[in-house]
Amino acid sequence: MKTPNSEARTVTVALAGQPNVGKSTVFNLLTGLSQHVGNWPGKTIEQKVGMYHHQRNGELCAMRIVDLPGTYSLTANSLEEQIARDYIIKERPDAVAVIADAAALERNLYLLAEFLFLPVPLVLGLNMTDVAERQDIHISPRILEAALGVPVVPMVATKNQGVRELVEAVDRVIRGATAYVPSRPAIREDHRAVLEEIRALIAGQVPEPYPEEWVALKLLEGDGEVAHMMQERMREDWAPVCGVLTRHEDAFLAVASGRYEWIGRIARAAMTRPRTGQITLTDRLDRVATHPFWGLLVLLGMLGVVFWLTYSIAAPLQGLLDEYLVRAGRNWLHDALAGAPWWVVGALADGAIAGAGMVITFLPILIVFFAVLGLLEDVGYMARAAFVMDRFMHFIGLHGRSFLPLFLGFGCNVPAVLGTRIIDAPRARLLTILLAPLVPCTARMAVVAILAPVFFGGAAFWVSWGLVGLNLVVLAVLGVVLRRPVLGRESLVFVMEIPLYHRPNARTIGLAVWQRTLAFLKKAGGIILVFSVVVWALSALPAGEMDTSYLATIGRALAPLGAWMGLEWQMLVALLSSFVAKENTIATLAILYRAGGEESSLAGALAGAWTPAAGLAFLVVQMLFIPCAATAAVIRQETGSWAWTVFSVALLAAISLAAGVSIFQGATLFGLGG
């Protein structure tokens, strides 16, 4: 692909745009599988970079495409916005392509208006012109181009129209082949003098590489980050600036409305639109999808389909993988290493392969979840689901966007934690991650399904529902309790764009599934592997018998604590082993109660050994217990912090044990102890 001296000609182009404008479609078209997905340095926000090779006069030119986070503006109010503007100012890409939604031109030009003050040439990609035309909105790219002084390229990225032209326009701007003389919005007249005053005060004091004009404007807008930077720099000279700013606290409104007035003039010149609004397909669909009652039914239906797909496609696949890949691998390893010491065989077959096997058997569920999530996101339904659930989520201190990730937890907590990426506020996202492990996943429900009938016979059904209910109550209470300390000053603001519905794009969804799955394998896979080898070592060493293992020693040492909950040491060991995978609970109990692995004989052994009070306490603890290794691994991945991961584990351990003690003592009082 590369010509020998292509490195010298590699240019960097940043891709910017508001959310829901088809920016990722453009990025995917340009870069395909050459994308590298990572995080922005020191941040938990996803960074995507890819290469594109552009033909110019028969020569290949390499373009490094950097996908900036989708933002509505460039204030310092969110991490995404800070990343986008810091990147432009500090890294100075050769050009920025701003992608805009033609059907909402005015709001989209707002972001462009902000970019115009940064020292980088721009190209405007006017996307979704087909959607705009269908709504009778006609935009003249020529007039728009003349008014903005920025090259404008009409596009329909979903049909791969205009993407080549966009690249060519970017290339021309970088080479200086087109004169680049952008026009800029002026501040509203009543604030012009103040802006000049600030400019005069900070003249010569603005550190490189910040543009002075931009800094003055941002100060007037009340930008905390820029103010902090200038205060550090100016020291005693800062006081007069600060005085001016305090007198004009509401200047940001003048800046914003100045921009919108400028945009309005340009839009009136370049765009015609129908006098009166028509009823669009989106309006018709939303009459049902966002209705307080019908919307809930639609949501339930959608979620039903998600779970149906999981059980009818993912679960059988999971079973097949487990049988033909994981078990076969373990058996093969046992045979192949027949002469090796028992602990080598154990560490590899029962530790490493079992861990790797768990990662692999997770894949079908994750892929189904990611695909359905990607589809709902791409179609535009996710915003509706958040809207419908918003008023209910407020009860537990969260808002609508937290609903879907938490709900996914009923399938598996791993996609629940990964799904919190749709929450825009970092603290609300953290709170959702902390609450997610309290949603009972299918693996825990499987344990309940086996054990509840043993202790409660016909009442097992009600006990199971009670356990699920208890988890949700604990989740709600924890949400209320943690709301203040975790959210802090970040107020819970629910402001969200409701995008137009549009036809899903298979390429966008496919790439999203591929990248998220890859990220899970890379980041969580290693951690899960290590955890499972460690837990195997604890459960087998030193002698190879679980009875005499370190894990059993720990279990026996914890016996006094267990006694409060009516639990024997074997039960504690079963709980500890559930850290690798919740399903392990049953296997461990079977080994320790010498049931020979048969479920029926396990039932017999347990029914004799446990009182109903102890059984209930065990189930409660099991349901509320620490997240499994895979969930802990993704909590670490998504929070970017071991401290929060450890906090989450410790918190759930404390809650589950406290609940276990209260349930056992309470149940004993009510006579279930005998």
Partner: protein, 90 residues
């Protein structure tokens, strides 16, 4: 104030389907800046698409549908429009 002869309502009090113009946004700097970015500046026409009397609302403003939580909707003050007012674009 010039708008005193017109009644000022919050978005939460506006009826579904009604048109209005933004009068003022209350609340903290962060919130006001955020909605100003989305186009809630003084005098901007809007139409309330959804208001069930409780829970969040949906507003059509500058060609975009924006959902606001109940608390947020109560902070956006608007002057209800008359039939001749400009439509807030589809």
């Amino acid at each position: 104030m010039a708008l005193t002869e017109r009644r000022i309502l919050s978005l939460g009090e506006l009826a579904e389907g009604a048109q209005a113009r933004v009068h003022q946004v209350q609340g903290g700097h962060l919130f006001r800046e955020r909605v100003a970015t989305l186009g809630f500046t003084e005098g901007t026409p809007l139409r309330l698409l959804q208001n069930a009397g409780r829970g969040p609302v949906i507003v059509l403003i500058r060609g975009t549908r924006v959902a606001l939580g109940r608390g947020e909707a109560l902070k956006v003050l608007v002057a209800p429009g008359e039939s001749g007012d400009e439509d807030p674009q589809q």
